[in-house]
Symmetry: C2
Subunit: 176 residues, 2 copies
């Protein structure tokens, strides 16, 4: 790399650090996602774990699915449909190999949470009246900077969840 | 399968369900793991998320790393060493493809938490006096039935953590 490239990398890295610090506080004052009008829920990172998953292909991420107390209670009681007030959060990180773990295992096998992808944070919010047209669920997606996905993107959420109508449109099973 | 095989499968399945139900209550009265004398912590499944990971190779699992309040506070303040009272829980599930998710994605790409492997639950417990000989950490492992791993197995924990001494012997980074 020449000097200008190095400088650009340094500036980009510094900007990345700033963005990262700005986001750590929770962004309760963030922008509302279109269509469903959902904001980032303050404290979602403290919610209890529903399950984990990872996606290959173009997503190539590893994810945690968390739920607010209403969601966790509903999952553990195994009753459908989910009650109004249920909120499910899905956080995704790039699925990256861990060199330091692999060294200990003596082979390449370990994958951990890396940087945030653009589809970092998603919410499903149950409000059977407000979101009646989409199975009672509102959908939102935010990137690591708290920027919501656009209307076109959010329109694609519900159609993908339709095949799982029998489980109230929720893919994730509770992992005991 | 002949009739006897089918019957055995049915009995095994029923037994599995019973074990699963018995474990859901938390097993606070469970058996102590050898060497470090650690029991399953009641309520660990409600702890906050530190990060997620998955292992290929013979482990072939997907895992969530949770922390008690002391652990989470230490991680978020980014200060080492972890204070006494820190407990880190690692839950693992077999890493299984999800047919129902793959159908929606239109290709094989989705992996979710499956059945519990024998190394289902692990704890790292910080007590700098009690566990002085192993970097201040006690180690325990339990299977899905709450049965602790034996002494020989637990003796292998600390040596693997030695290379990560600079991070107080803890591999997992916090996933923001």
């Amino acid at each position: 790399m020449n000097r200008i490239s190095l400088l650009l990398v340094a500036v980009a890295t510094a900007a990345g650090v700033l963005v990262s610090v700005a986001c750590a506080s929770g962004r309760a004052d963030g922008e509302r996602a279109p269509i469903f009008g959902i904001k980032i829920y303050p404290g979602y990172r403290d919610w209890k774990l529903i399950s984990v998953a990872h996606e290959q292909g173009s997503l190539n991420d590893i994810r945690a699915i968390l739920g607010n107390d209403i969601a966790i209670k509903a999952y553990r009681s195994d009753k459908l449909p989910f009650p109004d007030g249920t909120v499910i959060a899905r956080i995704a990180w790039k699925d990256v190999p861990s060199e330091e773990n692999d060294k200990v295992f003596g082979q390449a096998q370990s994958f951990v949470a890396g940087p945030a992808p653009d589809w970092y944070l998603q919410f499903m919010v149950k409000d059977s009246k407000k979101y009646a047209a989409t199975g009672g669920w509102g959908f939102a997606q935010f990137d690591r900077d708290g920027k919501p996905a656009g209307e076109e993107k959010l329109k694609t959420c519900f159609p993908c969840h339709v095949p799982i109508r029998a489980r109230d449109f929720v893919f994730t099973h509770y992992a005991p």
